[in-house]
């Protein structure tokens, strides 16, 4: 099925924010907004669900902590106990202060790296990925709002959008399979 979208371009993030709010008030559907830099508060204005990345990060941190504890327990207590500084390593708990830096570092390492990898996967980003930006200017100084125009009165949408401060409005027919 052929779908129709409208690309409205803006040159200022404040104008874009106001436009997003007006478009939402008119109950038009925003497919996506492409910006050259993160616009603060745009996710809330678009009505996107809050991110769950922090929860995954917490879980990855717990995994890292567990990994560090079991690793140090195996290396320093079970497999090859050594007498360091007059502290024979026969008990994890008694030697725990020496392992805290490792526990801390691995918690941070796991939380940070796995969170970034999760973010990439969730955003469908990987090496050699083709850019999805419909307009190269969105990597420079333009902001692009993509609206669903199927089953809509396109002319009234265009006149509405030009009133929100758009500098350029394009109607695009997507002939290929729409996702």
């Amino acid at each position: 099925m052929a779908s129709k979208v409208i690309h409205a371009l803006y040159t200022d993030d404040d104008v874009l924010m106001d436009a997003v709010k007006q478009v939402r008030a008119e109950h038009y559907h925003i497919e996506e907004v492409y910006t050259p830099f993160p616009v603060h508060g745009l996710d809330k204005a678009m009505g996107l669900a809050p991110t769950r990345l922090a929860i995954t990060s917490f879980m990855y941190g717990c995994v890292g902590l567990t990994f560090a504890i079991s690793m140090m327990n195996y290396i320093m207590i079970e497999d090859w106990p050594q007498n360091i500084g007059g502290k024979p390593s026969f008990s994890y708990l008694e030697n725990m202060p020496a392992f805290v830096p490792i526990m801390f570092e691995l918690t941070v390492f796991f939380a940070a790296h796995l969170m970034v990898i999760t973010f990439y996967m969730r955003s469908k980003l990987w090496p050699f990925k083709e850019a999805e930006n419909p307009d190269v200017r969105t990597t420079d100084d333009h902001f692009l709002m993509e609206l669903d125009a199927s089953h809509q009165d396109v002319d009234s949408m265009i006149s509405f959008l030009s009133n929100t401060g758009a500098v350029e409005i394009k109607v695009i027919d997507k002939q290929e399979d729409n996702h």
Binding site: G85, G86, K87, P97, A98, V100, P101
Partner: protein, 451 residues
Amino acid sequence: MYTLSSKLRLFSIILVVIGAIGLATGFLSAPSTIEEVKEMMAHDAHGGHGDAHAENGGHAQNAHGTETHGKEDTHGGDAHYEHVLHQLQNKPWAALYVAAFFFFMIALGVLAFYAIQFAAQSGWSPVLFRVMEAITAYLVPGGIILFVILALSGLHVNHLFVWADPGVVDPDSDKFDALINGKSGWLNGTGFIIRAIIFLGGWFLYRHFAVKYSRLQDEDATGNKWYKKSFKISAAFLVFFIYTESMASWDWIMSFDPHWFSTLFGWYVFASLFVSGITTIALITIYLKSKGYLEFVNNSHIHDLAKFMFGISIFWTYLWFSQFMLIWYSNIPEEVTYFITRIEDYRLPFFGMLVMNFIFPVLVLMNSDYKRINWFVVMAGIIILCGHYIDVYNMIMPATVGASWFIGISEISAVLLFLGLFLFIVFNALTKAPLLAKGNPYIEESKHFHY
């Protein structure tokens, strides 16, 4: 304008009166002779506590390090009872000192936080400036009380500071201590009092002018003349503060254990006073909001304060652990005795404080949404403040009362006394100026602060 409710006024006065009576009881009930100590301990033994005290009595001497075990043997049993007598006589003084320092440290922490807001020209916080100014009002009376206690201790009116005893620096005395004698160029009563005057004087001076300029900026905001002055004195104060706070922590806390030293002690105490101060700002802000004041403070401001509580709690733990782990690992006798005393005789407050100051705030305040829920912040704040009271307690008590510690009438009364005083002064200071620092150039940004 805020008006002090008569209920709050009465509440704080009642706290002061109860605290003063309790503290007087604590001073009067302290034993004055060895016979009284024996009687008390015999009485305690029926309750089951006496054995623990008698056994642990010897360890406390390690904290002082001034007495040898050999001497104890030659004197027989009485030397031990005499030692316990001195500890019990120190107890009400130490309780008074811990509470006086704790509430003073809150005001000082808020003053440093306030100065940082000016020096950083921060845009989010000006709506909270009047709350901060009111809390720092406690700095002057609290500082004067602390100074009186310090001066009495430095002149050896009580026995809080071992180094203040003239015997320890007299080679002919049997109390002579070569290590303290080597440090007597710094650790002596006169120098101690002069330094306290310089530290407190400098902080009082900044507090006086910072508040004065803030009020003048409200009256005449043209050209931001007073704001610029505030900026300059705040930057200068912060430089002065970080040196003097560090030296004050050596003088006022670290010198309780004059043989022991830690090079990051100043930072450690700073983290403690900073997080206590920020927590108090959050608690008083939430209280005032609940009473219908501070309508311009939104939950993003509370969120930011809670972030500071969370972050500085972790910072405190980092410093605590950095101090602990190096000493624990190297295991050098004169250093490690500090922690051995605390772990053997103060196991519950020592590890309990770690739970209250680290694990609890980390788990409760980690979630972003919880930082905006007032009762969560209040609950975490109360635990953090109690935890840092115990932190100060752990720093001071092992060297002054040793194994004879217990949270008794003196400790609770001293906290009530200074809490009442603190509440009365702070809320009275809130009535002195409008709650919005309207002349501040960042006040509009702060009102619209949204995260």
